[in-house]
């Protein structure tokens, strides 16, 4: 079989979703970890140092290209699968079957689309102005801590971020476990671990992100 046959089969397409999904899960740990520096309560000194390393060092900037490739693969493949899967029923049922599965496992396409919309807002809030300021190379950056403070002083921005992160949480609640099933983890003992870690991850990471705009909005930071 050719590589094309592998990655265009239904199982191969799911493998792409799984590999890119796990890659994005790992990225979120780095993202949440660096952003957590805002809670150092030093007026953003430590946070800006971390942001400077990520934005002005050539290694993270090259890795950033890989991140976008992974992200686009996940989005495009996900949307294509969603549309293809939806077309397989033909005539819809008069009474739909909803008891056998969790609502968020059936709504991965919808949750993913909400996250995509949130991501466009999020990137145009922080990433894009910063890169424009840098001339898309390794130029001088804007003060991202001050930028966060300014953005998160508006209630509606905070609400949009909380909603985006909640969608992320539910997307991860199914996606984390599903990714490992897709790469073939069928051992009961390991599945129990992945299920447990998956739910934990889907709560902790989005909660950490949610607390960031809230911390700024309620002036919990010095």
């Amino acid at each position: 079989m050719t590589w094309k046959e592998v990655f265009t089969s239904s199982v191969g397409k799911k493998l792409v979703m799984s590999f890119t999904g796990i890659f994005l899960i790992l990225f979120l740990i780095v993202h949440a970890g660096l952003n957590a520096c805002i809670w150092a309560n030093d007026g953003g000194v430590m946070f800006n140092q971390g942001a400077h390393f990520m934005g002005a060092n050539v290694v993270p900037r090259i890795l950033e290209i890989g991140l976008f490739v992974g992200l686009f693969l996940h989005i495009i493949q996900g949307l294509m699968l969603e549309f293809s899967n939806r077309s397989k029923r033909g005539t819809d049922y008069a009474v739909s079957y909803s008891k056998g599965s969790k609502w968020y496992s059936r709504s991965m396409g919808l949750l993913g689309t909400i996250i995509l919309i949130f991501l466009v807002i999020h990137l145009s809030d922080f990433w894009l102005p910063n890169r424009v300021h840098q001339g898309f190379l390794l130029g001088e950056e804007i003060n991202l801590y001050d930028k966060m403070k300014e953005e998160f002083s508006e209630l509606w921005v905070v609400i949009v971020y909380v909603a985006g992160c909640l969608s992320l949480g539910y997307h991860l609640a199914h996606g984390f476990q599903s990714a490992f099933r897709t790469i073939g983890v069928h051992n009961k003992r390991y599945n129990a671990i992945f299920s447990c870690v998956g739910y934990g991850y889907a709560i902790i990471i989005p909660l950490a992100f949610i607390m960031m705009p809230i911390s700024f909005y309620f002036h919990w930071l010095n």
Partner: protein, 254 residues
Amino acid sequence: MEHKNINLTLKVWRQQSTVSKGEFVSYQVKEISQEMSFLEMFDVLNEQLILEDKEPIAFDHDCREGICGMCSMYIDGKPHGPWQANTTCQLHMRAFNDGDTITVEPWRAQAFPVLKDLVVDRTSFDRIIQAGGYVSVNTGNAVDGNSLPINKNDADASFAAAMCIGCGACVAACKNSSAMLFLSAKVSHLALLPQGDPERQSRVVNMVAQMDKEGFGACTNTGACEATCPKEISLSNIARLNQEYLLASFTASN
């Protein structure tokens, strides 16, 4: 248990042929014993329709003891009706109350076109099996017990997968109309045993290719198939299929 007769309203999907447009038609059935099976209730309704000079409702059935996989009704939003681990023929009318309205639909999937009323064409499953769901060589007579040692866990998992009766409820329940639970049961059943081992790679690759060709959707691990399966085929079979496919596709030399 107390014996009761009940009256019901049935909303049944009627469709003359694959190409014609179908619709729901309501029927009243009276004095239905709660000890009847769901299909016996349909027999009573069909008798009534024949006496009224109307066309009886076409539905699939064969053994009526839950082992052949022919019956296929989507009852009140669940394949094979409200009971767990149960086929339509083994669903009994005590699952319903007097005055209930029951909606009965055929399996819905493009790969399962409606032939007539509640009968769908499931030969796509046969073609998936023909693509590799067998052992090519004649294995001869059954050998003496324990002359071919097989790990007990593997033997049990293989037997549990072999329980699949190929009814298609997994496809009917899946939001993507995916046949992965069926396929994974067939692949697991053979891959776990020494007789099926030599062909495990070509089997999984060919069967997945045939499943895609038939127009089934991709699996998103929601678990709806496992929840409705009359034989309780485990979702872990799908993960095993994924592993088989991953190994086959990354190690195959041609």
